[in-house]
């Protein structure tokens, strides 16, 4: 248990560090929400100064940071200049949408990648493996940008799926079954795009992990004992490969978050991505920081979860920790 307390404390330190880093970065760069306004001759410098003071932008970096921390503590997470409301109100909904997308894609991608990876590893260099590996190589080379655009073309041409936003305009007037269908219709293509974009990476890792596991002396010994192939695969090799695979879960969160940004923007899925972009265009400082922090939280949480799973599954780690 102390192991986990330490890991949790460590994660929190990382998050605080990231927040400081974000503030520093953004401070280093020239330009802010009111830069354009300053250039506008119709707005007097006096007004600009007053606005800046009102939003606290005229204060020094450490002061702003502390005030932001305080705002975070009370649940506001800063203030959006563009929307005139606390950042948290904007973010939670978007975060939920992004989570929906990434979790669904992650589950789908792993569910497909694991059996395919095992299959490919078992039939190494035979036609099944070659086909899968070649396909994954090609898919890997296609950027997520292109997947999203491609699926959009498909959607527009066939009109089979809805695109743009999470639900149609007439959502509120639909019955419950129709509501689910509406969301599903909007949901499918983004999930598909994200899944296809990340699937090849997971497949490769599963395959590599299984190949390593199958090469272990313990597996050879099992084979020599005449244990049937199926059993070896699932009862011996898979558990051996579990460690790197579980660690990969943490990695996959990072991959998915980055890829989801692009997919969301292109397909119009209302997640953190489009919000970040909009905030960047408007130079809405605290929204940008909020989005970055939240995505970092997801990533750190993903790694922590992976550590937890590793601890539970691997007795060696349990023994090593006090």
């Amino acid at each position: 248990m102390p192991y986990f307390l330490r890991r949790a404390a460590h994660s929190i330190v990382v998050l605080v560090g990231v927040s400081i880093l974000s503030f520093v970065f953004i401070e280093l760069a020239p330009g802010e929400f009111f830069s354009d306004m300053r250039l506008n001759p119709q707005i007097s410098p006096h007004t600009v100064a007053a606005l800046r003071a009102h939003y606290g932008l005229d204060q020094s970096l450490p002061v702003r940071y502390v005030r932001w921390l305080h705002s975070a503590a009370i649940g506001d997470w800063g203030y959006s200049f563009a929307y005139n409301m606390p950042v948290s109100q904007l973010i939670w909904v978007r975060a939920r949408n992004t989570l929906m997308l990434t979790v669904a894609s992650a589950v789908l991608a792993w569910v497909i990648a694991i059996p395919l990876g095992i299959f490919a590893a078992e039939r190494r260099h035979r036609w099944g493996d070659r086909l899968l590996s070649a396909t994954s190589s090609v898919l890997l080379a296609v950027p997520d940008l292109l997947f999203a655009l491609g699926l959009l073309v498909f959607a527009i041409r066939t009109r089979a799926f809805a695109v743009g936003g999470m639900a149609g305009l007439d959502y509120s007037s639909l019955g419950p079954a129709a509501k689910v269908h509406d969301i599903f219709s909007h949901f499918t293509l983004p999930v598909l795009a994200l899944t296809v974009a990340t699937l090849p990476i997971f497949f490769r890792h599963v395959r590599a992990g299984m190949l390593e596991a199958l090469a272990l002396p313990s597996i050879e010994a099992a084979r020599a004992h005449g244990i049937p192939r199926r059993r070896i695969l699932f009862r011996y090799a898979l558990p051996a490969a579990a460690n790197p695979l579980i660690s990969l879960l943490g990695l996959s969160v990072a991959t998915l978050l980055s890829a989801s940004l692009v997919v969301e923007v292109i397909m119009g899925w209302p997640g953190l991505g489009p919000m970040l972009l909009e905030a960047i265009m408007a130079r809405d400082l605290y929204v940008v920081i909020g989005a970055v922090m939240l995505s970092t939280v997801f990533l750190v949480a993903g790694n922590f979860l992976a550590d937890l799973l590793l601890y539970v599954s691997d007795p060696r780690i349990r023994a090593g920790a006090p």
């Binding site: 192991y3 090593g320 920790a321 006090p322």
Partner: protein, 278 residues
């Protein structure tokens, strides 16, 4: 391998007094630290021109002692006197000069020679570090060194993996000789070599000792081998010298359990075959 002791000075070339070396280790994920006493008050003296052997099992601290004497590790306490100078208090250019006179030949030549370097680069590396000679100027040195250890000149371009174990050992010795040391410390010089190669290396070391007036400190776990070549043997156990003396004395009069254990490990001992005199 008896050096003519009467001809050399009876002064001590190198003397270590109450040498101690501690490591502090921490187990991963734990806050508890504990000390490891690699060396615990070792005192020994080596006469110039002689062959001294340090024998012990693994973990006895013998490699650590070699490293400390060669100046590659700093002892926690104690003194090392070389040529009437306290090594541990010397600094700068004095230190560099003295350190050149004590050379360590590592065990496991697979790791002791950079696999990307050619033989020429390996044996003349000390020159490259310590002098401003150009590559062309270093080459005759390289050739000479190869000759001294009995390797063909034409092999200067080869990489370590193209040499056999015994040949790599010769390269390592050549490299150590490059700076013209007075004391050569050989850590497990014969490990991993088969018997005929061991004999060859022994012969080579014997010749070199005569021509270069070298003093040797052998570090080994093999008591029988050391008994054949050393003038004096010290038995190291858990960082302390537990017994010391001439090989014949050790075998005849030894009472210490560690020495006995090392002796028992020698094949043929029980049959009463004596292990040759020094």
């Amino acid at each position: 391998m008896v050096a003519d002791i009467s001809m050399s000075t009876t002064e001590f070339l190198i003397r270590a007094t109450r040498l101690a070396k501690e490591y502090v280790q921490q187990r991963p994920l734990s806050r508890r630290k504990f000390r490891v006493h690699a060396l615990d008050g070792v005192t020994l003296e080596i006469r110039a021109g002689s062959t001294f052997a340090l024998v012990g099992e693994s973990g006895s601290g013998k490699s650590t002692l070699g490293l400390c004497l060669a100046g590659l590790e700093k002892p926690t306490s104690g003194e090392i006197w070389f040529d009437q100078q306290n090594l541990l208090t010397l600094k700068g250019p004095d230190r560099a000069r003295i350190s050149g006179q004590i050379q360590l030949v590592f065990q496991d030549t697979g790791a002791a020679l950079n696999p990307r370097f050619s033989a020429e680069e390996i044996v003349t590396e000390p020159l490259r570090i310590r002098s401003r000679l150009t590559r062309a100027e270093r080459q005759p040195w390289a050739e000479q060194l190869m000759e001294q250890v009995g390797l063909p000149r034409g092999w200067l371009n080869r990489r370590p993996h193209q040499f056999s174990g015994g040949q790599r050992q010769r390269l390592a010795i050549a490299r150590a000789l490059c700076v013209q040391p007075r004391l050569l410390i050989l850590d497990e010089a014969f490990a991993g070599l088969d018997l005929s190669v061991q004999a060859q290396i022994m012969r080579l070391l014997q010749e070199l000792q005569a021509t270069h007036a070298l003093t040797y400190l052998f570090i080994s776990h093999d008591l029988s081998l050391m008994a054949r070549i050393a003038d004096e043997i010290a038995i190291l156990h858990q960082g302390r010298i537990v017994e010391q003396g001439k090989p014949s004395d050790l075998f005849a009069k030894s009472r210490h359990p560690v020495t006995r254990a090392l002796q028992e490990a020698i094949p043929g001992r029980r049959c009463g075959l004596s292990v040759g005199s020094a």
